[in-house]
Point group: C2
Amino acid sequence: MPYAPSASPDFFARHSDLLQRAVEATARRDYWTPFKESPSTKAYGEQAPAEGEAAFQAHLGKPFALDGHPGEGLVEVAEVSPYGMELRVSYPKVTVEQALSAAAAAADTWRGADPDVRVGVAAEILVRLNAASFEIGHAVHHTTGQPFVMAFQAGGPHAQDRGLEAAVCAWAEQKRHPSSARWSKPQRKGGDLAMQSRYTPVGRGSALLVACNTFPTWNGYPGLFASLVTGNPVIVKPHPGAVLPLAITVRIAREVLAEAGFDPNVVVLAAEAAGGRAAAEFALDPRVRIVDFTGSTQFGDWLEDNARQASVYTEKAGLNTVIVDSTDDYQGLLRNLAFSLSLYSGQMCTTPQNLLVPRHGFPTDQGRKSADEFAADLGAALDKLLGDPARAAGTLGALANADILKRLEAAAGLGTTVHPSAEIAHPEYEGAALHTPLIARLDAADHDTYTREWFGPISFVIGVDDTAHALEIFRQTVGAHGALTTAVHSTSEDVLAKVERAALQVGVQLSENLTGAVFVNQTAAFADFHGSAANPAASATLTDAAFVTGRFNILQCRRPATSQENSRV
Amino acid sequence: MPYAPSASPDFFARHSDLLQRAVEATARRDYWTPFKESPSTKAYGEQAPAEGEAAFQAHLGKPFALDGHPGEGLVEVAEVSPYGMELRVSYPKVTVEQALSAAAAAADTWRGADPDVRVGVAAEILVRLNAASFEIGHAVHHTTGQPFVMAFQAGGPHAQDRGLEAAVCAWAEQKRHPSSARWSKPQRKGGDLAMQSRYTPVGRGSALLVACNTFPTWNGYPGLFASLVTGNPVIVKPHPGAVLPLAITVRIAREVLAEAGFDPNVVVLAAEAAGGRAAAEFALDPRVRIVDFTGSTQFGDWLEDNARQASVYTEKAGLNTVIVDSTDDYQGLLRNLAFSLSLYSGQMCTTPQNLLVPRHGFPTDQGRKSADEFAADLGAALDKLLGDPARAAGTLGALANADILKRLEAAAGLGTTVHPSAEIAHPEYEGAALHTPLIARLDAADHDTYTREWFGPISFVIGVDDTAHALEIFRQTVGAHGALTTAVHSTSEDVLAKVERAALQVGVQLSENLTGAVFVNQTAAFADFHGSAANPAASATLTDAAFVTGRFNILQCRRPATSQENSRV
């Protein structure tokens, strides 16, 4: 019989309306969210901002408590805020063996629970994460370098949206078949041949979540909740530079699991300092049957090649491309693109890198613009957007780590720099600096440069012969290296149709003519897909059925239907 | 815009009721089929048996015509009926390059077609295959050695059921999201931020179907139809010993595709003689993005390890197990099991091999029976079932190939033979022989013998200490080597619950207390799952969402919602 602890709160009943609406939203794909994105007292209550900040501050310089967590002692991971401060939080120290043993022991009752029970627990975790959005927002701000409002939104309600979307997708896929059914086949001689079956969705084993530095919760929650709801315990392995947001998440998940009557070790935190090899060690363990990863192409490819016992969902790197053919809103195009390049200093897996522009010009509502003119105008749009230091700080945030700064310095030698990256003192944080986007002018021939990903505030205006040439480069480069996003600007439906056909061929999500307040590097849960699994940049999709069906199997148990049958269903 | 040839018949409209009922059947999981399983004139018409046999006979000794098929010349594959006759059918000779080029050229319009159009074509193909069930039945009979009624049923209507099940599962998964949607987010300042999106399910590339000798259509149709309906062209690579049933299938598929206005090379036949390496060559080609395989563990493992660019769905071998704990219908148990071991001379991937029986006896309605007594009684039940040559012929059929006969001869040296395999002259076919099942008595200690698969009419009565010991062996052997089926006999609900828990742990489908007319080696489409993907025996499941979601991706194209939007949806 499915396991459902009777003395515990019925989280499924509590959240059934929310869950039903979320399932409907994934099918309707209109705007929908239960989590308010404004970091305001109106949305979250008068005390929420101050209490959330105090909760964050209370973590600093202390051991992070997780009751009953496996392991012994503490690990110092040395998180340093991109805004200057050392966090000095220490976390439970756990070996791979301790983490997997604890997860396996916790798995039995979790696997045996009904999917309704599991999704109810997931919903309660998400609702409590939402209440902790200010605490998490500050933790994300001080580990990733995202500006605070973005850290609150992307690290809080938007990440919770993505987690809920994955949770209900995993739940819905487990409910496609009844939990039991009677099969009754009429016989030629009369009467029926009857069987009674039970169908049980069963998790595959332990899941490993390897999270990234820049979006620990937004990129981490989909895999976490998809694995949980399909009946798998999850080992959460944060990036050494961004542990705190996921430690808070693990704490809340464990509290809800325990209240629901489950072993809290269904979710285990595996924090380690930089240079550790725990992710690789976990990934090769035969008990790990699911891996979710966001990060470098190198480690993502290694996981795909080596974690052969597991379903592996990766989000790696790619060559996000913009094809400029024509526009009837040149200033809108420039404003929109300048913001996309600036947001979080280009440290999004979705930030455009390769801007393919006709060398000898393209038509706009302000006359024909050559690639050189376009590059200069884009630089001017950046300067206008980022001219005010407070607005610049709220848009750019800080560089997440020293590697990105090194790459930015190296990029100064690429092609012709048309907009150098400026270093601006941060208006709030002493010692922290803002870095504006660098734009280099390349030509189509410079493919050795632009077929590599330059993660950070680095983009290229690449001169091409014409739009047909741009499409050829797009097909070749994105076909070979992948992309998370592509955008096109054209006033011609014919050109737009051609670009869409090419995007379908190389398997990339496409945005057309963005000149307003929607940006190519942003996607909305329940409406926009992030990652297509159809090109080399990602095998994960947030979130469709393919993202969840590899996390469980359906097992059938059948017997002749007799009077016995009533005793077991 | 989706491609739907307007001058062609609307197969989707023609079959929409059938398709809707099939989708409902996959969810309800009661008995349902649109294809009559009786090879009778009442079901198929007065002329059908004679016409079907004549159609089969007309193929013999001739080139198999496939209009417009790629390649040059003919290949002689040397199919020999297990009943003695040489088929002498030759097939179009096609290189890997020719097949893949033709499929890729045909793919464009097929990929661009709406899933409704594709599933309509699939339904029409299945309905025409059903009308050809006698022709296909004779072809299956004379390539696999299945007795005719079984060849008709399993090769005809039951295979068509499995094809329809996969087709509608693939269709339903593509329809979870709308083809277009408007996203409208209220703005704080008033008004809406609105986007219009199109969502397109896109096939991954070319699909390769590597079929087996024993069930070319039943095991082949699910992958074929799942790949087709998700927008992928399919290269059908039959086993050299069983080409004709799939050649007929390809002919019908191509006829329907052409009538529907598509390039018939959406389905290509890649026949080759024994010893060819085309399957491996296809599987390593980067254009092949999906592989379906039924056959040996060795080649299945090779495909999983090497066809890394593809979604690989394998059905390999395993250790099908029966756990005998107790029974209140000893004679029913023996009759049922004797039939399971005899059907098609044990040449089913679902035939039980390892029968775990308490050495010192288990309770039955006819008193306590030791493992030795059980083995003797099972031998007697086999002799009773197979005593009449006509009934024996209709149950056993013939051995599909010489390898199985060699294995059967080798098995005579295993443990203590308690029921030797007898060779009986076939009552209809001169020169053909029937081979009754061999049963050897082993002990739990003989694990080197029983942890290998002995495909064919070979089973072991393995003495164990008690049911707990049986469960331990079951967990170890099926956990390590996998299984397609497991059965248990027990009068204790407590024991049945323990066995079900173990089956959920090792990930195998379970049948309890089969003593009547349902057999462990048979599954019904729309109700029973075949393969779990949860143990080493198979990564394919017939048919759930996991079997189809790896065959396509969902790609989104979004733009600001303006007056333009009406022009494109």
